[in-house]
């Protein structure tokens, strides 16, 4: 993991606003890059999408507005932490923005505290999201190693069934089950049953939701074992 300096990307069609914001963020110690329009951003050979940072987007823009940009980036898998700003006080737009996963929806004019607060939250979210992804990748890698039988067993194990019952359900012996169970535990590097359960559930949730985050966020407390360690 490269510890890069997070970059704040500002997109606003108003020149003076863009300039002012750039100045402010720079003066606050952030690295800023600005674009006059969404198109410019997309055209830009952007740095590694994995590089940390957040987006500061103006909602109302000609041609491609902020929300559309966000959805494009989300589709591309890059723009996770977005802070919207707008000159209109439009509730509808705000709700839409928040629903699409924006960190904040700032109403112009906003104070620098508000801005920096939102930016920090966005960066934190961005980092978190990254970490989550890493974790998910790790877990997924680990889960991929499981054989189908192990998957079956694992699924049953996490329901709290006794080995005896699982054996009966699957039609094998309890011993085999125990072996499978141990293998699953080992592959998944779960320290306890509860841990395993949590992992499985997480994976399930992610699969169901389609992406990490939200309801598919890892359980509070995370998983025992340092997923990062395996990265």
């Amino acid at each position: 993991m490269s510890q890069e300096l997070p970059i704040i990307t500002v997109v606003d069609d108003d020149d003076s606003v863009r300039r002012a914001l750039s100045r402010l963020l720079s003066a606050s110690g952030y690295t800023v890059r600005t674009f006059a329009s969404a198109r410019e951003l997309l055209a830009d050979p952007s740095p590694d999408p994995d590089s940390p940072g957040c987006l500061l987007l103006d909602v109302r823009m000609p041609e491609l507005d902020g929300l559309e940009l966000q959805s494009i980036l989300k589709g591309a898998g890059t723009g996770t932490a977005v802070v919207f700003m707008t000159g209109h006080g439009d509730v509808q737009t705000g709700v839409k923005a928040m629903k699409s996963g924006a960190v904040d929806f700032l109403l112009k004019p906003f104070s620098d505290e508000e801005l920096l607060d939102a930016v920090n939250r966005a960066l934190a979210l961005d980092a978190e999201t990254r970490a989550e992804r890493r974790d998910l990748n790790e877990l997924t890698r680990r889960a991929a190693k499981l054989t189908p039988r192990e998957r079956e067993v694992g699924a049953l194990v996490v329901t709290g069934r006794l080995n005896k019952q699982i054996a009966a359900a699957l039609g094998t012996s309890e011993k085999t089950i125990k072996v499978h169970r141990a293998r699953v535990m080992a592959k998944m590097r779960a320290t306890s049953l509860a841990d395993l359960v949590r992992m499985m559930e997480y994976l399930d949730r992610v699969r169901a939701v389609g992406s990490p985050g939200g309801s598919a966020s890892p359980p509070p407390g995370g998983f025992s074992g340092d997923l990062r360690a395996t990265v």
Partner: protein, 1004 residues
């Protein structure tokens, strides 16, 4: 016989007495001729019988006498026939006797001559009819017929005899024989013929048996005596010749008692018998030769007959005289009685009076009597006695005729008037011994006189009344009970120039106008029939004005005690002027109310209702009252219309400008009671708050004489401001020049208009606000951008200033940006403020392109948000427009917003908006063209109507407001659809100098 044939001669009635008239009839002459033929024939035969044998001449020759008698009785025209017939008879007779023709003819000639002479002479002397009861007639007869005729004809006769040598006697012998023969014949035969031919006795006496007996006795006695004396042959020559006169007493008896008829008959008998006796040798006349005997007999007869005829005539005359005297006396008595007169003869000495006549006045009955003077005086009314006595005394003493009128007391106590006239009769001594005279009952006369006097007075009164009737200015007429008008006063004739005779028998109806004639006449008939007073209006011909004039005719019946109508009296008064007055009044009324349409209609209705009947009664006061009443009634209606008018009306006197009359609406509008307003001038009521308004009105009135629909500001008496439309006109009312002014209150209307204007401005403002509302997002955005930049820049600057060293260049850049951003924000705000301003329109000279620019600035972010691309095509050489800047911005803004919304459904690439300005004519045209959905054809106009919108949440007022704004700028706004897609809105405004937009009139 003779009488019969005389009757057959058809003698004219005028020639005979009244008695004879009855008997005479016109008979065919042939009968008469035949009768005389027979009579002549028979007479001749008798004559032959009476001819003593030796002599050729008859003692009594009837034919001549018969002829003479008939000629006397017959009409002169019949004489030729008579003669002819006699001639034929004569011929027959004489020829029978074998007498030569010459002789026969000769004898006829002499006979006829005798008869003719006698008859002619008689005719000459005596007017027919011949009467034997008149001495004169008898005398004439004796002389003419008895003596002269035979005398003359005997000459002829003797001549013929001598000529024919008929007789051996000498001429004179023949002559005398003939003479006497004819005399006797005429004397004896003609009287009977005439007396019986003229209808018998000329005296009519009723048949009495005694008289008939007496006559019979007489005739019988005479016959006897005559026969005895003359015919019986008892006469002896020794007898006393006095026996000759034995028949005389009887003849006298006949003469005295039986008149000419009896006398002549008796004489005839006497004659016939004596002649017969003499001829046959009997009687006293037997001595001597036949001729001598005959002669003496003839003489005897003549001597007896003539006096007797005379006597009978005298006796008759005396008797007639006596009868006539008695008649006269009787008539006198009748007259006296009828005239209530009696004559009196007062013996002065004996104080007694005899009277004759009718003295019922004095209570005396009968035809005559006596009365004492005392009784007389008793009967005289006490008051008059002294005067009567004095008159009588004066008459006696002074030999004056007596004449006095006095009253007589009647038995029943009433009084009658008597007139006494008399004269004194003096005796031998010269003293008055008698007073004779007559007394007349003159009560009636006096009554008649009194009546006559009354009548005179009546006539005078009538004449005065007639004068009065003639003097009256009205037509006066009178009719009898049947309605036949028999009197018209002078006015009638003067007015209608009707001929006096032409008015009778409903000829007066010709004087009435043909249209009214039937109604008038029928109404008159009805009144007369029903006995109702007559009252009718009709047009009479007025000769003076040569036109028909309206008259009111009234008539009343006059009844007698029984209630029956005896007369009608009527008058007709000229009411033509009144009618004209009414008509003119009507015209004046219509003129007066010409200023108000509604009023005119109502007054026309009322005027039609105005009754046309003006009744004139006998005196002029009632006529005037009626006229006044009608005027008042029409005044009343006019007043009602005046009062009830929805507009305020005031009538002022032109002379001093004081109010004469106001209606109720005026009172309401000007908040002043009528009583307070009347008599004051308009200035005193402070109606003109603004002296300029007053001047305007006065000028308008002065220059034209009327005001029509002039809008002015007035003030009510309580100070309320009134905006009104004034119309005023000069009129003449009741001889005064007045001004009638109507004020239609439009205060409310103006206020409403002002309200509307205010509302419109409000609405425009709200429209703007709504527009702004729609743009609010964009506007907010527009403000927020600079604000955000300013804040961020400032905060950045603050952080930068903590660093060391300071980056001044950067800081300077920051400050510049801040200032610029601030200005930017300020501009937006001021624009918004401008739009929000709710003020009145402040028109100014505007560059249209600038307005477009302003609006574009305002909407930039909105356009971005909508994704609309703007294209402008602004003409460089546009005239200035005189308009309110904000309102123009509002219009362009609205059109742009609408255009954006129209394109909302289009794909982004298609959303282009074109704004163009062009010079068109001498004005400016701004067009906003979109490429949206366009406007449906029928809605191209209706989109400008309020509440027409395609937006689900819109009110649809935007375009309506814009249009009203454009209209108020004297411009036009319309929409068209583009050929390919979308719509174009056009706004055309006039160029500034000649375009002053119309402002609303309310200056308050």
């Amino acid at each position: 016989m003779t009488a019969r044939h005389a009757a057959h001669f058809g003698v004219g009635t005028t020639e005979l007495s009244a008695g004879a008239e009855r008997v005479q009839r016109r008979l065919p002459t042939i009968h008469a001729a035949f009768a005389i033929f027979i009579a002549y024939y028979i007479g001749a035969k008798i004559g032959f019988v009476l001819t003593p044998s030796p002599t050729p001449v008859s003692t009594l020759w009837p034919p001549n006498a018969i002829l003479l008698g008939v000629l006397l009785v017959a009409r002169t025209r019949a004489w030729p026939v008579v003669l002819l017939s006699a001639f034929l008879a004569h011929l027959t007779i004489e020829l029978q006797s074998g007498i030569p023709l010459g002789m026969v003819l000769g004898w006829f000639v002499s006979n006829a001559a005798e008869a003719l002479i006698g008859a002619a002479l008689m005719r000459r002397v005596i007017e027919p009819p011949v009467r034997f009861d008149a001495v004169r007639h008898v005398g004439a007869f004796i002389i003419c017929a008895v003596l002269i005729a035979p005398f003359l004809s005997s000459f002829l006769d003797a001549a013929f005899v001598a000529l024919n040598d008929w007789s051996e006697q000498g001429y004179w012998e023949v002559w005398s024989a003939r003479f006497f023969s004819n005399v006797i014949a005429i004397l004896m035969i003609v009287p009977p013929i005439i007396v019986w031919g003229t209808g018998g006795a000329t005296e009519r006496r009723p048949f009495s048996f005694a008289r008939a007996l007496e006559a019979t006795l007489l005739v019988t006695a005479l016959l006897y005596v005559c026969t005895v004396v003359f015919a019986a042959g008892l006469w002896r020559s020794e007898m006393n010749p006095a026996w000759l006169y034995a028949p005389l007493p009887l003849l006298l008896w006949a003469a005295v008692r039986f008149g000419p008829a009896g006398t002549s008959m008796c004489l005839l008998i006497f004659a016939l018998t004596s002649i017969w006796g003499a001829i046959h040798g009997r009687g006293p006349f037997t001595d001597g030769a036949m001729a001598q005997r005959v002669l003496s007999l003839q003489l005897f007869l003549i001597v007896i007959a003539v006096p007797l005829l005379a006597l009978t005539a005298v006796v008759r005359e005396l008797s007639r005289a006596g009868a006539s005297a008695r008649n006269v006396a009787g008539k006198l008595n009748l007259t006296l009685t009828a005239a209530k007169i009696f004559s009196w003869d007062w013996d002065v000495g004996r104080n007694r009076a005899t009277w004759a006549g009718c003295a019922r006045l004095f209570g005396l009955d009968g035809d005559e009597g006596e009365i004492t003077l005392d009784r007389y005086f008793e009967l005289v009314a006490p008051d008059d006695r002294r005067a009567v006595e004095a008159s009588i005394t004066r008459c006696i003493d002074f030999d004056e005729p007596l004449e006095m009128e006095y009253r007589v007391t009647q038995p029943d106590g009433s009084e009658r008037w008597a007139l006494t006239k008399g004269s004194p009769v003096r005796g031998r001594t010269g003293r008055v011994v008698h007073l004779i005279g007559v007394t007349v009952d003159i009560t009636d006369r006096r009554m008649v006189e009194a009546l006559a006097q009354e009548e005179v007075l009546l006539r005078e009164s009538e004449a005065r009344l007639r004068e009065l009737a003639d003097a009256m200015p009205q037509i006066v007429y009178a009719a009898d009970a049947s309605g036949e008008i028999d009197y018209f006063n002078r006015q009638w004739y003067a007015i209608t120039d009707c001929a006096p005779a032409a008015a009778a028998h409903e000829g007066w109806a010709a004087m009435i106008h043909p249209a009214d004639r039937t109604a008038c006449v029928d109404a008159w008939h009805e009144s007369v029939t029903l006995g109702r007073p007559y009252e009718h209006e009709g047009r009479f011909w007025s000769a003076g004005t040569r036109s028909y004039r309206w008259h009111l005719t009234r008539a009343l019946p006059v009844r007698d005690e029984s209630g029956a109508i005896v007369r009608w009296y009527g008058t007709a008064t000229d009411i033509d002027d009144q009618k004209h007055i009414e008509r003119e009044l009507r015209i004046k009324e219509a003129e007066l109310l010409a200023s108000s349409g509604q009023l005119e209609r109502r007054v026309a209705d009322r005027t039609r209702e105005l009754s046309a009947a003006n009744r004139t009664l006998r005196d002029e006061i009632r006529i005037r009252h009626r006229t006044e009443k009608a005027l008042r009634a029409s005044e009343e209606r006019f007043a009602q219309a005046f009062r009830a008018s929805p507009d305020a009306i005031a009538i002022t006197r032109h002379a001093d400008g004081r109010i004469i009359e106001v209606n109720e609406r005026w009172e309401e509008l000007f908040e002043s009671r009528r009583d307070d307003a009347i008599g004051k001038t308009l200035d005193e009521l402070h109606m003109f708050a603004d002296p300029r308004e007053r001047r305007r009105i006065v000028q308008a009135m002065g220059s034209h004489g009327f005001i029509k629909d002039l809008e002015v500001s007035l003030c009510s008496c309580k100070g309320t401001e009134i905006r009104g439309v004034v119309s005023a006109e000069r009129v003449e009312m009741a001889g005064e020049r007045c001004v009638v002014a109507t004020v239609r209150d439009i205060t409310a209307r103006r206020r409403a208009e002002h309200e509307i204007e205010v509302q419109r401005r409000e609405l425009a403002h709200l429209g703007r606000v709504a527009l702004l509302g729609e743009l609010s997002g964009a506007l907010a955005h527009e403000l927020n951008q600079p604000l955000t930049a300013i804040l961020a820049n400032a905060r950045a600057a603050q952080r930068m200033m903590l660093r060391d060293p300071l980056d001044t260049a950067e800081l300077r850049a920051i400050m510049d940006d801040i200032v610029a951003d601030d200005r930017r924000a300020g501009a937006v705000i001021s624009r918004v403020r401008g739009l929000i301003r709710k003020g009145e329109a402040e028109p100014q000279l505007i560059v249209s392109n600038d307005v477009v620019g302003d609006v574009l600035d305002l909407t930039r972010s909105d356009l971005i948000q909508r994704g609309v691309t703007i294209e402008t095509r602004l003409s460089a050489s546009l005239p200035l427009v005189y308009a309110d800047r904000v309102q123009m911005q509002q219009v362009v803004l609205n059109l742009m917003v609408n255009a954006c919304e129209a394109m909302a459904t289009m794909p982004l690439a298609e959303r282009t908006l074109l704004i163009a300005t062009d010079r068109v004519g001498d004005g400016v045209e701004i067009t906003v063209t979109d490429r949206g959905v366009g406007i449906p054809g029928p809605s191209l106009e209706s989109v400008f109507e309020p509440f027409v919108t395609s937006k689900p949440h819109g009110l649809g007022l935007g375009l309506a407001i814009c249009r009203s704004i454009v209209d108020s700028m004297d411009g036009r706004m319309w929409a068209t659809n583009n050929e390919d897609r979308g719509a174009t809105f056009h706004v055309r405004l006039p160029a500034a100098p000649s375009a002053i937009p119309a402002l609303s009139g309310m200056t308050a």
